[in-house]
Amino acid sequence: MESYKADVVIVGGGGAGLRAAIAVAESDPALRIALVSKVYPMRSHTVAAEGGSAGVKLPTDSLEYHFNDTVGGGDWLCEQDVVEYFVAHCNEELTQLEHWGCPWSRTPDGHVNVRAFGGMKIERTWFAADKTGFHMLHTLFQTSIKYPSIKRFDEHFCVDLVVDDGRVQGVVAIEIGSGEFTLVEGRSVVIATGGAGRVFRENTNGGVVTGDGMALAYRHGVPLRDMEFVQYHPTCMPGTGLLFTEACRGEGGFLVNKDGYRYLQDYGLGPAEPSPRNKAMELGPRDRLSQAFWYEQQKGRTIEGPHGSVVHLDLRHLGEAKLRERLPQIYELAEQFLGVDPARAPIPVRPAVHYTMGGILVDGLCASPLPGLYAAGECSSVGIHGANRLGSNSLSELCVFGKVAGVEAARFAKAAAPGNSATLLKQAQAVEQRVLGVKQNTGGNERIATLRKEMAQTMEDGCGIYRLAETMQATCDKLDELKERFKRVNVEDKSSVWNTEWLLAIELEYQIDVAQSMAYSALNRRESRGAHQRLDGFEKRDDENFLQHSQAHYVAGGPPRIDYGPVKITKSPPGTRAYGAAGEKAEQERKASHG
């Protein structure tokens, strides 16, 4: 087996991984960095983020507003000290990207422009047309090329961590092009592998978003926190789940039902004004909008299409010129995939799974309970999203906490003693034998695609926008069954070069573990909060019992063990979460009572 000695290993080459790599390189050019990614970095799913990245910019805005929007948007399940750090560092990080060349959209006088986004009181979303993630990712990737200490392991698939002497000391990866294993030693490891949306059937995510890093940490005893909170984005393409950015509504788009009625006004988001005001109607938060869709469907006020019920995202009144300027990618997606010209016809949309709010438990410095192991980005739960993420907070998170993770991993690596290479290699060889076993097994009769489909369907059935104990239990049972059946998975391809069938099998095993953490955490949370909504007697938020983070612990051979940890409240006691006119009224009352 090949062996490479790095100081810091970063798994994942998306926005958070690249930002972490640059942070390590800048904090000490002598540190050797290994950036291990299963795809070339510019293929990572950060590329698909559309609408923008939040950071206080306007003189009318404040850090306090961004904090309040984020904590209220998360239904008070946020780590408030971490949110304070976050909002205070967004602007600096987005400016850093500007200095690195990110083509932010501009105001006529040359400053970076900002747009409105859901759940945000003031316009603070920096954007590069509607390809913000694409531009941020390519800017970070191309900038990373400047740093000779970053050695990339492109198209290397990480299959395990090596842990010795009570701390993580590297990873084992397969070079996809050859099928060969490599041990990448490092005195600290940053996981930045993104979310796990592909465990659901209809989702906005790319094929790579399979929760690999979450499963790696989880199997080594690191809890996955708040995994029941899965975001449904309200405006996605029926069938494929492809995303129509929230910026469509930030720019003034409407959501209407089969009668052409802006139905959100019936769900506490009104009043319906000709252009949506911030934190109202179409600019409400994603959980509320997806929930409103569900009710419209129940009432028979949606439109039936070949891929299920839809409502209409109406952009016609914005005019072709503005759409081409501000939403060029959306325009092309509608035209090419749906045959709809959005300047002339409404776009059919429905909610689809978009984002994993929970993830690897880390503190505000991105450190997990396993010494030497850090995590950043969607795979992590640093605590800023709570029970519902606000749109445009996640791209900023990649930068703010990618940097923190890099700086902290660098600091840890410099202080840590070198590992025992012989012990680590021995562990890596055991990993190799186990992982080779996945394709060398013969006589299996379970198809990968069948297991994957059943998993994705049961997640949609049990862990959708609204949840019931009975269906969640059925999902838990189904996942237990799938985990058992996975032992008999059949990998026909026994070869080495570009054996993607083998990799799909390994990913599927990761996915089943992560799906279990979601379903069991959901079943155990007997309240409704943010994106976790129940209709079986637990319709209300229950701060007395559940103002707590769930933590799913891996149990070999069985379902996860769920326990709970405290939520850090610094300055915003849990309050009523209201939007539209009701939200404005609640805010005034809050102000009056606090003086």
Binding site: H45, A48, Q96, W100, T107, P108, K131, G177
Partner: protein
């Protein structure tokens, strides 16, 4: 699946270096609906007909740049090319032209990555600025000068379209040249002189014979041919200026 399901023949170029001496064609019968892309057709083959078929893909929405293939001989993103447009005829899918095949539809892209790395694809600041000083001012007009060239998704369709790259794999090619141009004309950048040495070099712009097929196949309207041609002019000016100015003369 929807009711209007039909079956299309997809002919796939197969090659496995561990057992095949040469690539060969294999035909699959694939049920499809009107909204299915070629990528979804190929995924169907992998899931239900032959798990050993290898190809790259991820985002499904023409932004990650992974799934470029030759579709009926034309470089295309398979995620935004639809089976309905070929039915009832057979559709032929092959690895991108002009690149070494690693396996099936997977090409070796290391050469492209090396070119990308070689052009210094990052801002070399014209003037230093601290974060505390805030952003560089850049008007929408200044942004407009380079924005289209910054839209390259590195899908390499333009390389598969470029006859010169086919003849000489060392040619820097349209995609990397568009990116080089993107940084050269960014108002924040001052690194043009360094980059222009590469442009005017042996493997630089003068290999381009102005066929323009690269721009035709580009899924993001980057128009790399335009970038190459602007740099021909620049490089020519540079060539003559170097007799007059001590350091290459590029501005």
């Amino acid at each position: 699946m929807a009711e209007n399901q039909r079956t299309i023949e997809i002919e796939v170029l197969r090659y496995h270096p561990e057992k095949d001496k040469a690539p060969y064609q294999q035909v699959f019968q694939v049920p499809f609906t009107d909204d299915m892309s070629v990528l979804q057709g190929v995924q169907y083959i992998k899931d239900y007909l032959d798990g050993s078929l290898s190809f790259r893909w991820s985002c499904r929405m023409a932004i990650c740049g992974s799934c470029g293939m030759m579709i009926n001989g034309k470089p295309s993103l398979s995620c935004e090319t639809f089976l309905r447009d070929y039915y009832p005829a057979r559709v032929r899918v092959e690895a991108l032209a002009h690149f070494p095949i690693e396996r099936d539809l997977v090409i070796n892209m290391e050469g492209f990555i090396e070119k990308l790395e070689s052009i210094q694809p990052y801002i070399i600041p014209r003037e230093a600025r601290t974060l505390a000083q805030g952003e560089y001012l850049q008007t929408p007009e200044q942004l407009n000068v380079y924005e289209q060239f910054s839209s390259c998704i590195n899908c390499m369709l333009c390389y598969a379209a470029c006859p010169q790259f086919g003849l000489n794999p060392a040619f820097i090619g349209p995609g990397a040249m568009a990116l080089l141009h993107r940084y050269n004309v960014d108002s924040r950048d001052g690194g043009k002189a360094e980059r222009m040495e590469l442009v005017a070099s042996e493997e630089g712009v003068f290999h381009c014979t102005a066929v323009g097929y690269c721009s035709e196949v580009c899924p993001k309207h980057v128009d790399p041919a335009n970038a190459v041609n602007q740099n021909k002019t620049n490089a020519a000016a540079d060539y003559f200026l170097r007799f007059l100015a001590p350091k290459g003369g590029a501005k």
